[in-house]
């Protein structure tokens, strides 16, 4: 008998629809694996057996009744613990919310529940999404399944590890400055940071509202498109969602890259591990071989990305964390960890009278320039390819006492959030048995194109078949 936990979402979905496996049985296998590995990897804050079994049973009934179901029906999905789940404790990875049980579901949760996806657990993260390694969690760090001495990347650390280790088939994440793409790169996964406004933020504990993008991690590009098909779209509860229409993201996914213009912005190939640079360049060559044209390009304001980000993001963080006063729910402010405190103080300062113009307002102006860089470049090329991380997955503890170095882990991801455009992390090889990822970045609402490019490359390389040895 096959081990379902080694399969892709699409493969499992086919087994379910062909009645070759029951949803209960399937989810039982994933729950078992989640429990077994969690002791080692700490990817879950909660594994929701009862909820999952109940939902799976319902799916079996629907299948027995020959109902037409979404491919995600019965599929075990984990949610980053920033997603409000009605009746299921939602901690944001912080002790402040250790006892907080939401009374409502985030829109993404509702949409996934509506297509009968199964909630298998809530995943670990850097508290409030603050971090690039997963080490800022108040519930202990999550370990990289490819090397237990290394970090899995953050802040969606638990979601990445849960998928990479075969504890579920997809997991949601949030990406404010790289929090989906970095862990996807460190864990050999497809990670989507959609266009700002493509997926509703309603019900997801906010980090920096003008930057937060809601995405997910999967083993393959196709799987990723299946999830976006459900989560994308305008939400009446989130005024910043776009009314822009979209069609099935899996349609024409095999279109290929013939005639596609790929841009390589030089600023992204200067300060990084040379081996990572080689891997990304080699991936670009693969795409060229498949028919794409490669064009050297430039995003001149890239160097201001991190400093701009570290003004805007803490400003909004300081405001969004103001509600955690323990009056209506949760514990008191003394439970905030050092990183949250650091950002509250930074943000309070940059929004203060007399400093606002010099910091926040100035940063917003630079942000506009960064966005314009992308607008200009997308007149010449269809997509950009960039490295996701300047380094390989680093050692646990290596950067945890040096916030500035930690912040620089996001040097290649934050400009994309500032611009609001979509980016897909696609695995592009291994160095010393550690995964490497690249970003395929496109103009607003070009997710479909990103999937086509990612799919073409994935079919050539199939890095996703390279599983961690656990």
């Amino acid at each position: 008998m096959i081990d379902v936990t080694t399969l892709t979402l699409k493969e499992v979905s086919t087994l379910l629809s062909k009645k070759q496996i029951k949803a209960q049985e399937l989810n039982g296998s994933f729950l078992d694996r989640a429990h077994k590995l969690n002791k080692k990897l700490n990817s879950f804050i909660a594994i929701t057996d009862d909820v999952a079994i109940k939902q799976a049973k319902k799916v079996d009934e629907l299948i027995a009744d020959n109902q037409k179901l979404n491919p995600l029906a019965g599929i075990p999905i984990a949610f980053k613990d920033l997603f409000s789940t009605k009746g299921i404790r939602t901690t944001a990875g912080s002790k402040v919310l250790e006892n907080y049980v939401p009374v409502y579901d985030a829109t993404s949760v509702t949409r996934l529940k509506d297509v009968s996806a199964v909630i298998i657990g809530k995943t670990n993260l850097d508290a409030w999404g603050h971090g690039s390694s997963g080490e800022n969690s108040d519930f202990g760090p999550t370990l990289n399944p490819y090397d237990l001495t290394r970090v899995p990347g953050g802040s969606s650390s638990g979601s990445a590890v849960a998928v990479a280790s075969g504890a579920c088939l997809a997991a949601t994440g949030t990406d404010t400055g790289g929090s989906i793409r970095l862990p996807a790169a460190f864990c050999n996964l497809i990670g989507l940071k959609p266009t700002y406004g493509r997926v509703s933020r309603y019900g997801i504990i906010a980090m920096a509202s003008s930057l937060d993008s809601i995405g997910h991690l999967t083993k393959t590009v196709y799987d990723n498109a299946l999830v976006l098909n459900v989560t994308a779209g305008v939400d009446e509860f989130d005024s910043t969602t776009s009314t822009q229409k979209f069609e099935d993201y899996t349609k024409d996914i095999e279109k290929g890259v013939q005639g596609l213009r790929i841009g390589l912005p030089k600023e992204y190939f200067e300060k990084l591990d040379p081996k990572i640079k080689d891997s990304v360049i080699s991936a670009v060559k693969t795409l060229a071989k498949l028919g794409a044209t490669v064009i050297d390009d430039s995003l001149p304001h890239t160097e201001y990305g991190v400093s701009t980000y570290y003004i805007i993001q803490p400003s909004e963080v300081s405001s969004n964390l103001a509600r955690y006063d323990s009056i209506r729910f949760g514990f008191g402010r003394e439970k905030f960890g050092p990183e949250a405190k650091r950002r509250i103080i930074l943000g309070t300062y940059t929004l203060s009278a007399g400093y606002y113009d010099a910091y926040y307002l100035k940063a917003m102006k630079v942000r506009r320039l960064i966005r314009q860089d992308f607008e200009k470049v997308f007149k010449k090329v269809d997509v950009l390819i960039l490295p996701t991380s300047p380094t390989l997955p680093f050692n646990l503890g290596e950067k945890v006492d040096d916030p500035l170095t930690m912040y620089l882990s996001d040097i290649f991801t934050v400009p994309i959030n500032l611009a609001g455009v979509p980016s897909l992390n696609v695995p592009c090889g291994f160095i010393n048995n550690l995964p490497i990822g690249m970003q395929i970045v496109g103009p607003d609402f070009s997710e479909k194109l990103l999937y086509q490019v990612g799919y073409a490359y994935e079919q050539e390389t199939k890095w996703y078949q390279n599983k961690p040895k656990l």
């Binding site: 933020r201 019900g203 920096a208 006063d325 209506r328 009278a353």
Partner: protein, 480 residues
């Protein structure tokens, strides 16, 4: 030393939309069980996001037009950060540099004087929850009711251009009147749906510069208290200035029991609200077409109505102003004019006399009572026809308001129709026969005796006689 008060007003008005400013909860919280009109948004739960109420925005823009403000083509919401337990998010969604309307004016009248008061801005924000302090199981606790949290709140800020409590009162009343004409709020001071915060300071007569301090007055729940608080504050500040000191910049509350203002909070350190654009709400861009449509929905406003009533009916300006205080009253007047074919002046006399007297006594408005324009018209018509006396008409009017019956119904029920002349002649004969002494007195020149005889006649007819006719009949008989 001679001082001149410098008074500006900040007025908060809760808008009467069905739902709250940023969620679907009912905004009609008055008297509701605590925390029943709440949801993740107005409770500030993690992950909840605001969605702006379009109608509330239209309301504040309509007021902007009524206050002759410039329409603002672009606008946005901002976060105003401060900590207070009744503010669930730790910030209030408000407006900082791009309010929906700014730079207008309001015309007020005190006595015969008309004055324009500048309007700095009108903006939209959300109301807070409400704290109450109680002792439960021997423990002193503070309870929070979030029903009010997120109710649309409009703030109207005036320029510091008022110079007396009377002007401030006239300004507030005029603002309330306009808001009610627009139908955007009940603007009820007692219920707290309209809150006045006067800023009061004094400068030497002739000084052009604004004083270097300012006292903000709060906790005022009636126009009367606003007037008293300002007057008290002017006196208090004069005394301080006379002693060579400068009043301490602070917020003071009105203590209605002791008729004085009391210090609430020192405002020497101005708050840093750390305003920044609300990232959860996209900014707004309005076009001329939108404003034109909105403007076309603005009803006739008080000043226009007064002018039109003056033009169309033969009534005095004072009467027109009095009637137009309440739009419903003015509507009632005009409806009555349509039904009643007699003089509008007569209707006005009834409205400003009998009707308003009664309404003021019971502290009601025309909407609170059962009175239709046709009912008043019929009553007036019957007096014109000499079917009832004026005195009877007043009694009928009172009963009409109490039970909603028509004048003719009441008159026949109560047997109040004037008796005929023939019958009256008989009665006067009886009166003359039974009061020979008075008749003799009258004939001997004591003219007051006639009043006595009229009184006797009215007594016998139970007031159903036309007084002029009684007098005439008696005189005819006495002098023949």
């Amino acid at each position: 030393m001679n001082y001149k008060p410098v008074i500006g007003l900040e007025v908060h008005i809760e808008l009467s939309t069905q739902s709250k400013m940023f969620c679907r909860c009912s905004a009609d919280y008055f008297g509701a069980k605590p925390n029943t009109h709440t949801c993740p948004v107005c409770l500030g739960l993690p992950g909840a996001m605001p969605k702006a109420n379009k109608l509330a925005i239209e309301f504040v823009q309509k007021l902007g037009f009524a206050l002759k403000c410039q329409p603002q083509l672009s606008s946005k919401f901002d976060r105003k950060s401060y900590f207070y337990p009744d503010l669930p998010k730790g910030f209030q969604i408000s407006q900082f540099d791009l309010p929906f309307s700014q730079k207008g004016h309001l015309e007020i009248r005190t006595g015969d004087q008309i004055k324009k008061i500048g309007i700095t801005r009108t903006h939209l924000e959300e109301d807070t929850g409400k704290l109450s302090h109680a002792t439960i199981n021997g423990k002193r606790v503070t309870l929070i009711d979030f029903n009010r949290s997120g109710v649309p709140l409009m703030e109207v800020v005036s320029e510091p251009e008022m110079q007396s409590a009377t002007e401030a009162k006239a300004y507030s009343q005029k603002l309330q009147q306009i808001v009610r004409y627009l139908g955007i709020s009940d603007a009820d001071m007692e219920k707290g749906s309209m809150r006045i915060e006067p800023n009061v300071s004094l400068r030497k007569s002739g000084d052009k510069k604004l004083p270097n301090y300012k006292i903000e007055l709060k906790n005022i729940n009636s126009f009367r208290f606003a007037e008293r608080a300002i007057n008290y504050e002017i006196e208090r500040q004069i005394q301080i200035l006379e002693s060579g000191k400068i009043p301490h910049q602070e917020t003071r509350g009105w203590d209605e029991k002791n008729n004085r203002t009391v210090s609430q909070r020192s405002k020497e350190l101005s708050y840093d609200y750390r305003y920044f654009p609300e990232p959860d709400l996209p900014s707004f861009n309005f076009d001329q077409e939108y404003f034109t449509k909105l403007q076309s929905q603005i009803p006739e406003l008080p000043d226009q109505k007064v002018k039109r009533l003056l033009r169309n009916y033969q009534i005095s300006e004072g009467e027109a102003i009095l009637i137009c205080q309440d739009k419903n009253l003015a509507d009632f007047f005009e409806e009555t004019v349509k039904v009643y074919k007699g003089s509008p002046k007569k209707i006005v006399n009834w409205i400003t006399g009998e009707l308003l007297r009664r309404l003021n006594e019971t502290n009601q408005s025309i909407r609170d009572i059962n009175l239709l324009p046709a009912q008043l018209a019929e009553l007036l018509f019957m007096t014109d026809q000499n079917k009832i006396t004026n005195a009877t008409a007043k009694d009928v009017f009172e009963k009409m308001i109490q039970n909603g019956k028509s004048a003719s119904e009441l008159i026949s029920e109560l047997d109040l129709t004037l008796i005929s002349q023939k019958e009256l002649e008989k009665t006067t004969e009886t009166v003359i026969k039974n009061n020979q002494k008075a008749v003799a007195d009258f004939k001997n020149g004591k003219k007051e005796s006639l009043d006595f005889l009229i009184g006797q006649t009215q007594r016998l007819t139970k007031g159903k006689a036309n007084p002029a006719l009684v007098r005439q009949l008696l005189l005819d008989k006495l002098e023949s």
